[in-house]
Amino acid sequence: MDTQRREGGLWQMIWAFDLITLIFLVITAIISLQTKDLLSAAMIFGVYSFLMCLLWAGMAAVDVAFTESAVGAGVSAVFLIATVLRTTRRSSD
Amino acid sequence: MPSSITSFTPVLASLVSLLAVLPIVLLGKKPNLREGATFLAAFIKFGLVVSMLPTILAGSTIEFTVWEIVPNLAIAFRVDGLGMLFGLVASSLWIVTSLYSIGYMRGLKEHSQTRFFTFFAISLSATIGVAFAANLFTLYLFYEMLSLATYPLVTHHQDKEARTGGRTYLTYLLSTSIGFVLPALIFVYVKTGSSMEFSSSGFLSGHITASEALILLLLFTFGFAKSGLMPFHSWLPGAMVAPTPVSALLHAVAVVKVGVFCILRVFTGVFGTDYLQDLDIATVVAWIAAFTIVASSLIALTQDNLKRRLAFSTVGQLSYIILGAALLSDRAVTGSMTHIAMHAVGKITLFMCAGAIFVATGKKYISQMDGLGRKMPITFAAFSIGALSVIGLPPTGGLISKFYLVTGAMDAGQSALLVIFLISTILNAAYLLPIGYRAFFPKDPQLAKQPFSWKTTEEANWQCITPLSITAVLAIILFIKPQFLLQLAGLMVGANG
């Protein structure tokens, strides 16, 4: 049964993966908030959500990751895009 | 130890006018029946109060606890000498004023008479409630109730002037009672943890420090701003915009007397004169009162509006009572208790006269009243008697209480205050006597020449004249037979010693 544990090297990899994803998360978050074009912001937010979902999957939170991929990266982004298209794309900040 | 009897009567005495509100409102469309209800309630109330008199004179007290509303703190009634005295004054004068207000309101065809009589009755309930309150808490409840119930009366005319007057009225009364009395009350409650029942030896001693005591005393004295102590007096002249019966009963009798009554209670029932003497802090209050007496008399001299002059006179006279209490000597306290009654009778006469003059002639200013005595002899005769009583000259009751106050001051060894009494009496005479004198003996030779005849009199209607005559006579009777008042007051003071 122990074979199923993610011992040693695998765990180290997860750790590295975790670190890199986290850094990317910060970057996407900033970009998404700094973009003047709201449509791009919405898209990048989708990317952010997707990275988040990867991260959680790496942390063995599969259910959370699954939900986030469906809800955060999927539906939320669609909602945002719908609103942007229904209002305006320009943003002053 | 005086025995105490449990009886529902004091509660009933307070409630009866509140219950009368229902028929008054329901009968609003039928003025005669409505006034009938008012009268009935007034007589029942008076009867109830009088029925308790023998018991009280015998040295007992009557008690009733209605409701424990806050832990250890109840709405409770207790009738003792002081309460009885005040209750008698208020309930008897209600009858008189009811009659008078009917005459006045109908004479001037005032609007919203039902509202007027309704709140009049509620105010009386509150007044009697204050008189018979057994503890500080109950006292405060009825005190607040009175402030609010009189607001519609003060602002009865609903015009701009009334609004200003009403604003001042409530601002002063509510801000002092909420700002000063309420915290003082709760402070006392927290510190003593007791039920705050009045007792002749006070219940504060031992629970608070001397500086706290001084602060508390000042909070209470200024907090009961209905007493018109300077600098919280200016609501009183402002409230004179009210119809005269209101001024008469409430601002010469009920409201202001409630104020001084509360202060008397604080001095005698909360602190206890002995405790105050030990602390030696009452002098501060005495001097504030002395200042008020002189200052208000001086202001009264300058007033041309009769009701305003009377109002300032009231401010001064009330301070006599406070001064008497603050002197702490037995005689002074007796004097100030009796002065409640004496001044009430005298001042109500004066106010009713002012109202009668207004009803008959529409005149408000003293300068217009030259020679009016010839047209309204009864009114001005009564006015003169009232004036004598307020000044404290024989043959009126005012003399008795002043006598006690002056001798009390001597007992207390406050000779400086004697001078104050002297000055103020002269001032009183100076602002009251000329009115009556001029009315009968006008300056204007034109008027002076007019011959007097009963046929040319233009008195106000009988509902106005009767009550003021009654009170004028009462003022004289109280000179002849002041014993039972002194006895009631003595009950309180005697218990002290």
């Binding site: 978050a29 908030l33 959680w56 986030e68 305006t88 | -």
Partner: protein, 157 residues
């Protein structure tokens, strides 16, 4: 090196604070209503990240029992279809439980996951409502910039 270790051991927590503050800053300072909502979502996902990080155990796996733990015999996986009659192919629930050995450290802590499922749903619900309000505001005021809207309210007075 110690510092690095201390840093690395709690790296997730550091980053979650940073992401969260990015979101919070956007929520407060951004003028654009949609931007604020994006900030809000970032803010909320940062909290979710924090929670999920709590539940991680070194060397853990997903919080689902392995197939062979639950089905020791090679029966089909329709558990529940059997009511425990004890035939060889369908061991009863009690039998499975009796043979079950679960090492808690093998599995990630499931509780934070459960909580965060709820939080994600709340997040999307809030986002949806926020977007709806944004659209309504745009319909009413013709703008989704906060300062422009406030000005139009002021000038309307």
């Amino acid at each position: 090196m110690e510092l690095l270790e201390a840093l690395s051991a709690k790296f997730n927590y550091w980053i979650y604070v940073i992401i969260m503050m990015i979101g919070l800053y956007a929520m407060i300072s951004k003028n654009n209503l949609v931007k604020k909502l994006i900030g809000m979502s970032i803010f909320q996902t940062a909290i979710i990240l924090f929670y999920v990080s709590i539940g991680v155990k070194e060397g853990d796996t997903i919080p689902i029992l392995y197939h062979d733990q639950v089905h020791p015999s090679h029966g089909d996986s329709h558990h529940g279809a059997d009511t425990g009659h004890g035939e060889d192919h369908h061991p009863s629930h009690e039998e499975i439980v009796a043979n079950l050995h679960i090492e808690p450290d093998d599995f990630a802590n499931p509780l934070p996951h459960v909580l965060m499922l709820t939080a994600i749903v709340v997040g999307v619900a809030t986002l949806g409502v926020g977007l709806a309000l944004t659209q309504k505001i745009y319909r009413d005021f013709g703008s989704i910039e906060e300062n422009e809207i406030l000005e139009s309210i002021k000038s309307a007075k």
